[in-house]
Amino acid sequence: MWAYAVVPERTRLAEPLRGLADAPVQLLGDGSHALLVSVVASDAIASAEDPHALAAHAERHHEVVRRVLDSAPAVLPFRLGTVLRDDAAARVFLERRRGSLQRALRHVKDRREWTVRVDRSGAQPRGEPTASPPPRQGPGAGAAYLAARRHQLTTAETERRERAALLHDVGLALHERVVDVAVGHERDDAVVFAEHYLVERAREPEFFETVDACGDALLERGLTLRLTGPWPAYSFARTSMVEEAHD
């Protein structure tokens, strides 16, 4: 039983959905919450050593979660690979985590995740020390070279600091418009800023305005802002879903 997400009990799927291995997506509830699941044969679940199949799973998993976001006010997406043994196990799962699930769903209710990244792929950054100034010959050439070099490095350093200050301000401005922030971990060195935001749906217009203002300011410095979303709240689903003590 492959699990995609937890949703409030009242959720109804707007359309029939097919998930992993084309299995139908079902709701399995306990009165408080419901699990979005598909019954899948265990040999249909790719092993982690098969990147092609795993990637297909990931896309399908995400597609299901994304579609349900349209039907449900709150969706708590699971990380890829959450599998439950059967119906009974699913109910036990829900029962033992009722409190945590309630809190976790409340946190993402009527909110969507948006990601902002800034990279250096814009206009040429100014003042980067590229080649050293060509050393000249003759008296005073050495000193002139060093002075020119120092100037280059100082300018570059100033640019760097101003860029860092601007990114800091961008972060502050965006944080004002959101209810939660998760820092992004990027593998790409060209990305100088990456954060995920949980934004109230009703407050998205103001958020977009701020994003645009930040994007404009960054462009003047040769930095490109990119917004992606809306996403189901993957980055904000990491609340610890601990089992509560049995009575």
Binding site: A48, P51, R79, G81, L84, G215, R238
Partner: protein, 66 residues
Amino acid sequence: MTDGQLSSRYAGSSSLVDLLDRVIDRGAVVNGDVVIALEGIDLIRLDLRLLIVGVASRLEQHARCS
């Protein structure tokens, strides 16, 4: 009485890497005796590059067939 802004000028489409990263590395993580996590998924998180390569070639196959 203007309509709320529907999107940002800087909105763009997300990459497959972004999607994979999200689904594999984020989302609620659960354990407990009723949960069987996908074995080896933690290894994949460390080796996302392998996955990306796999996906890229799969997409190319799709593109050729469709």
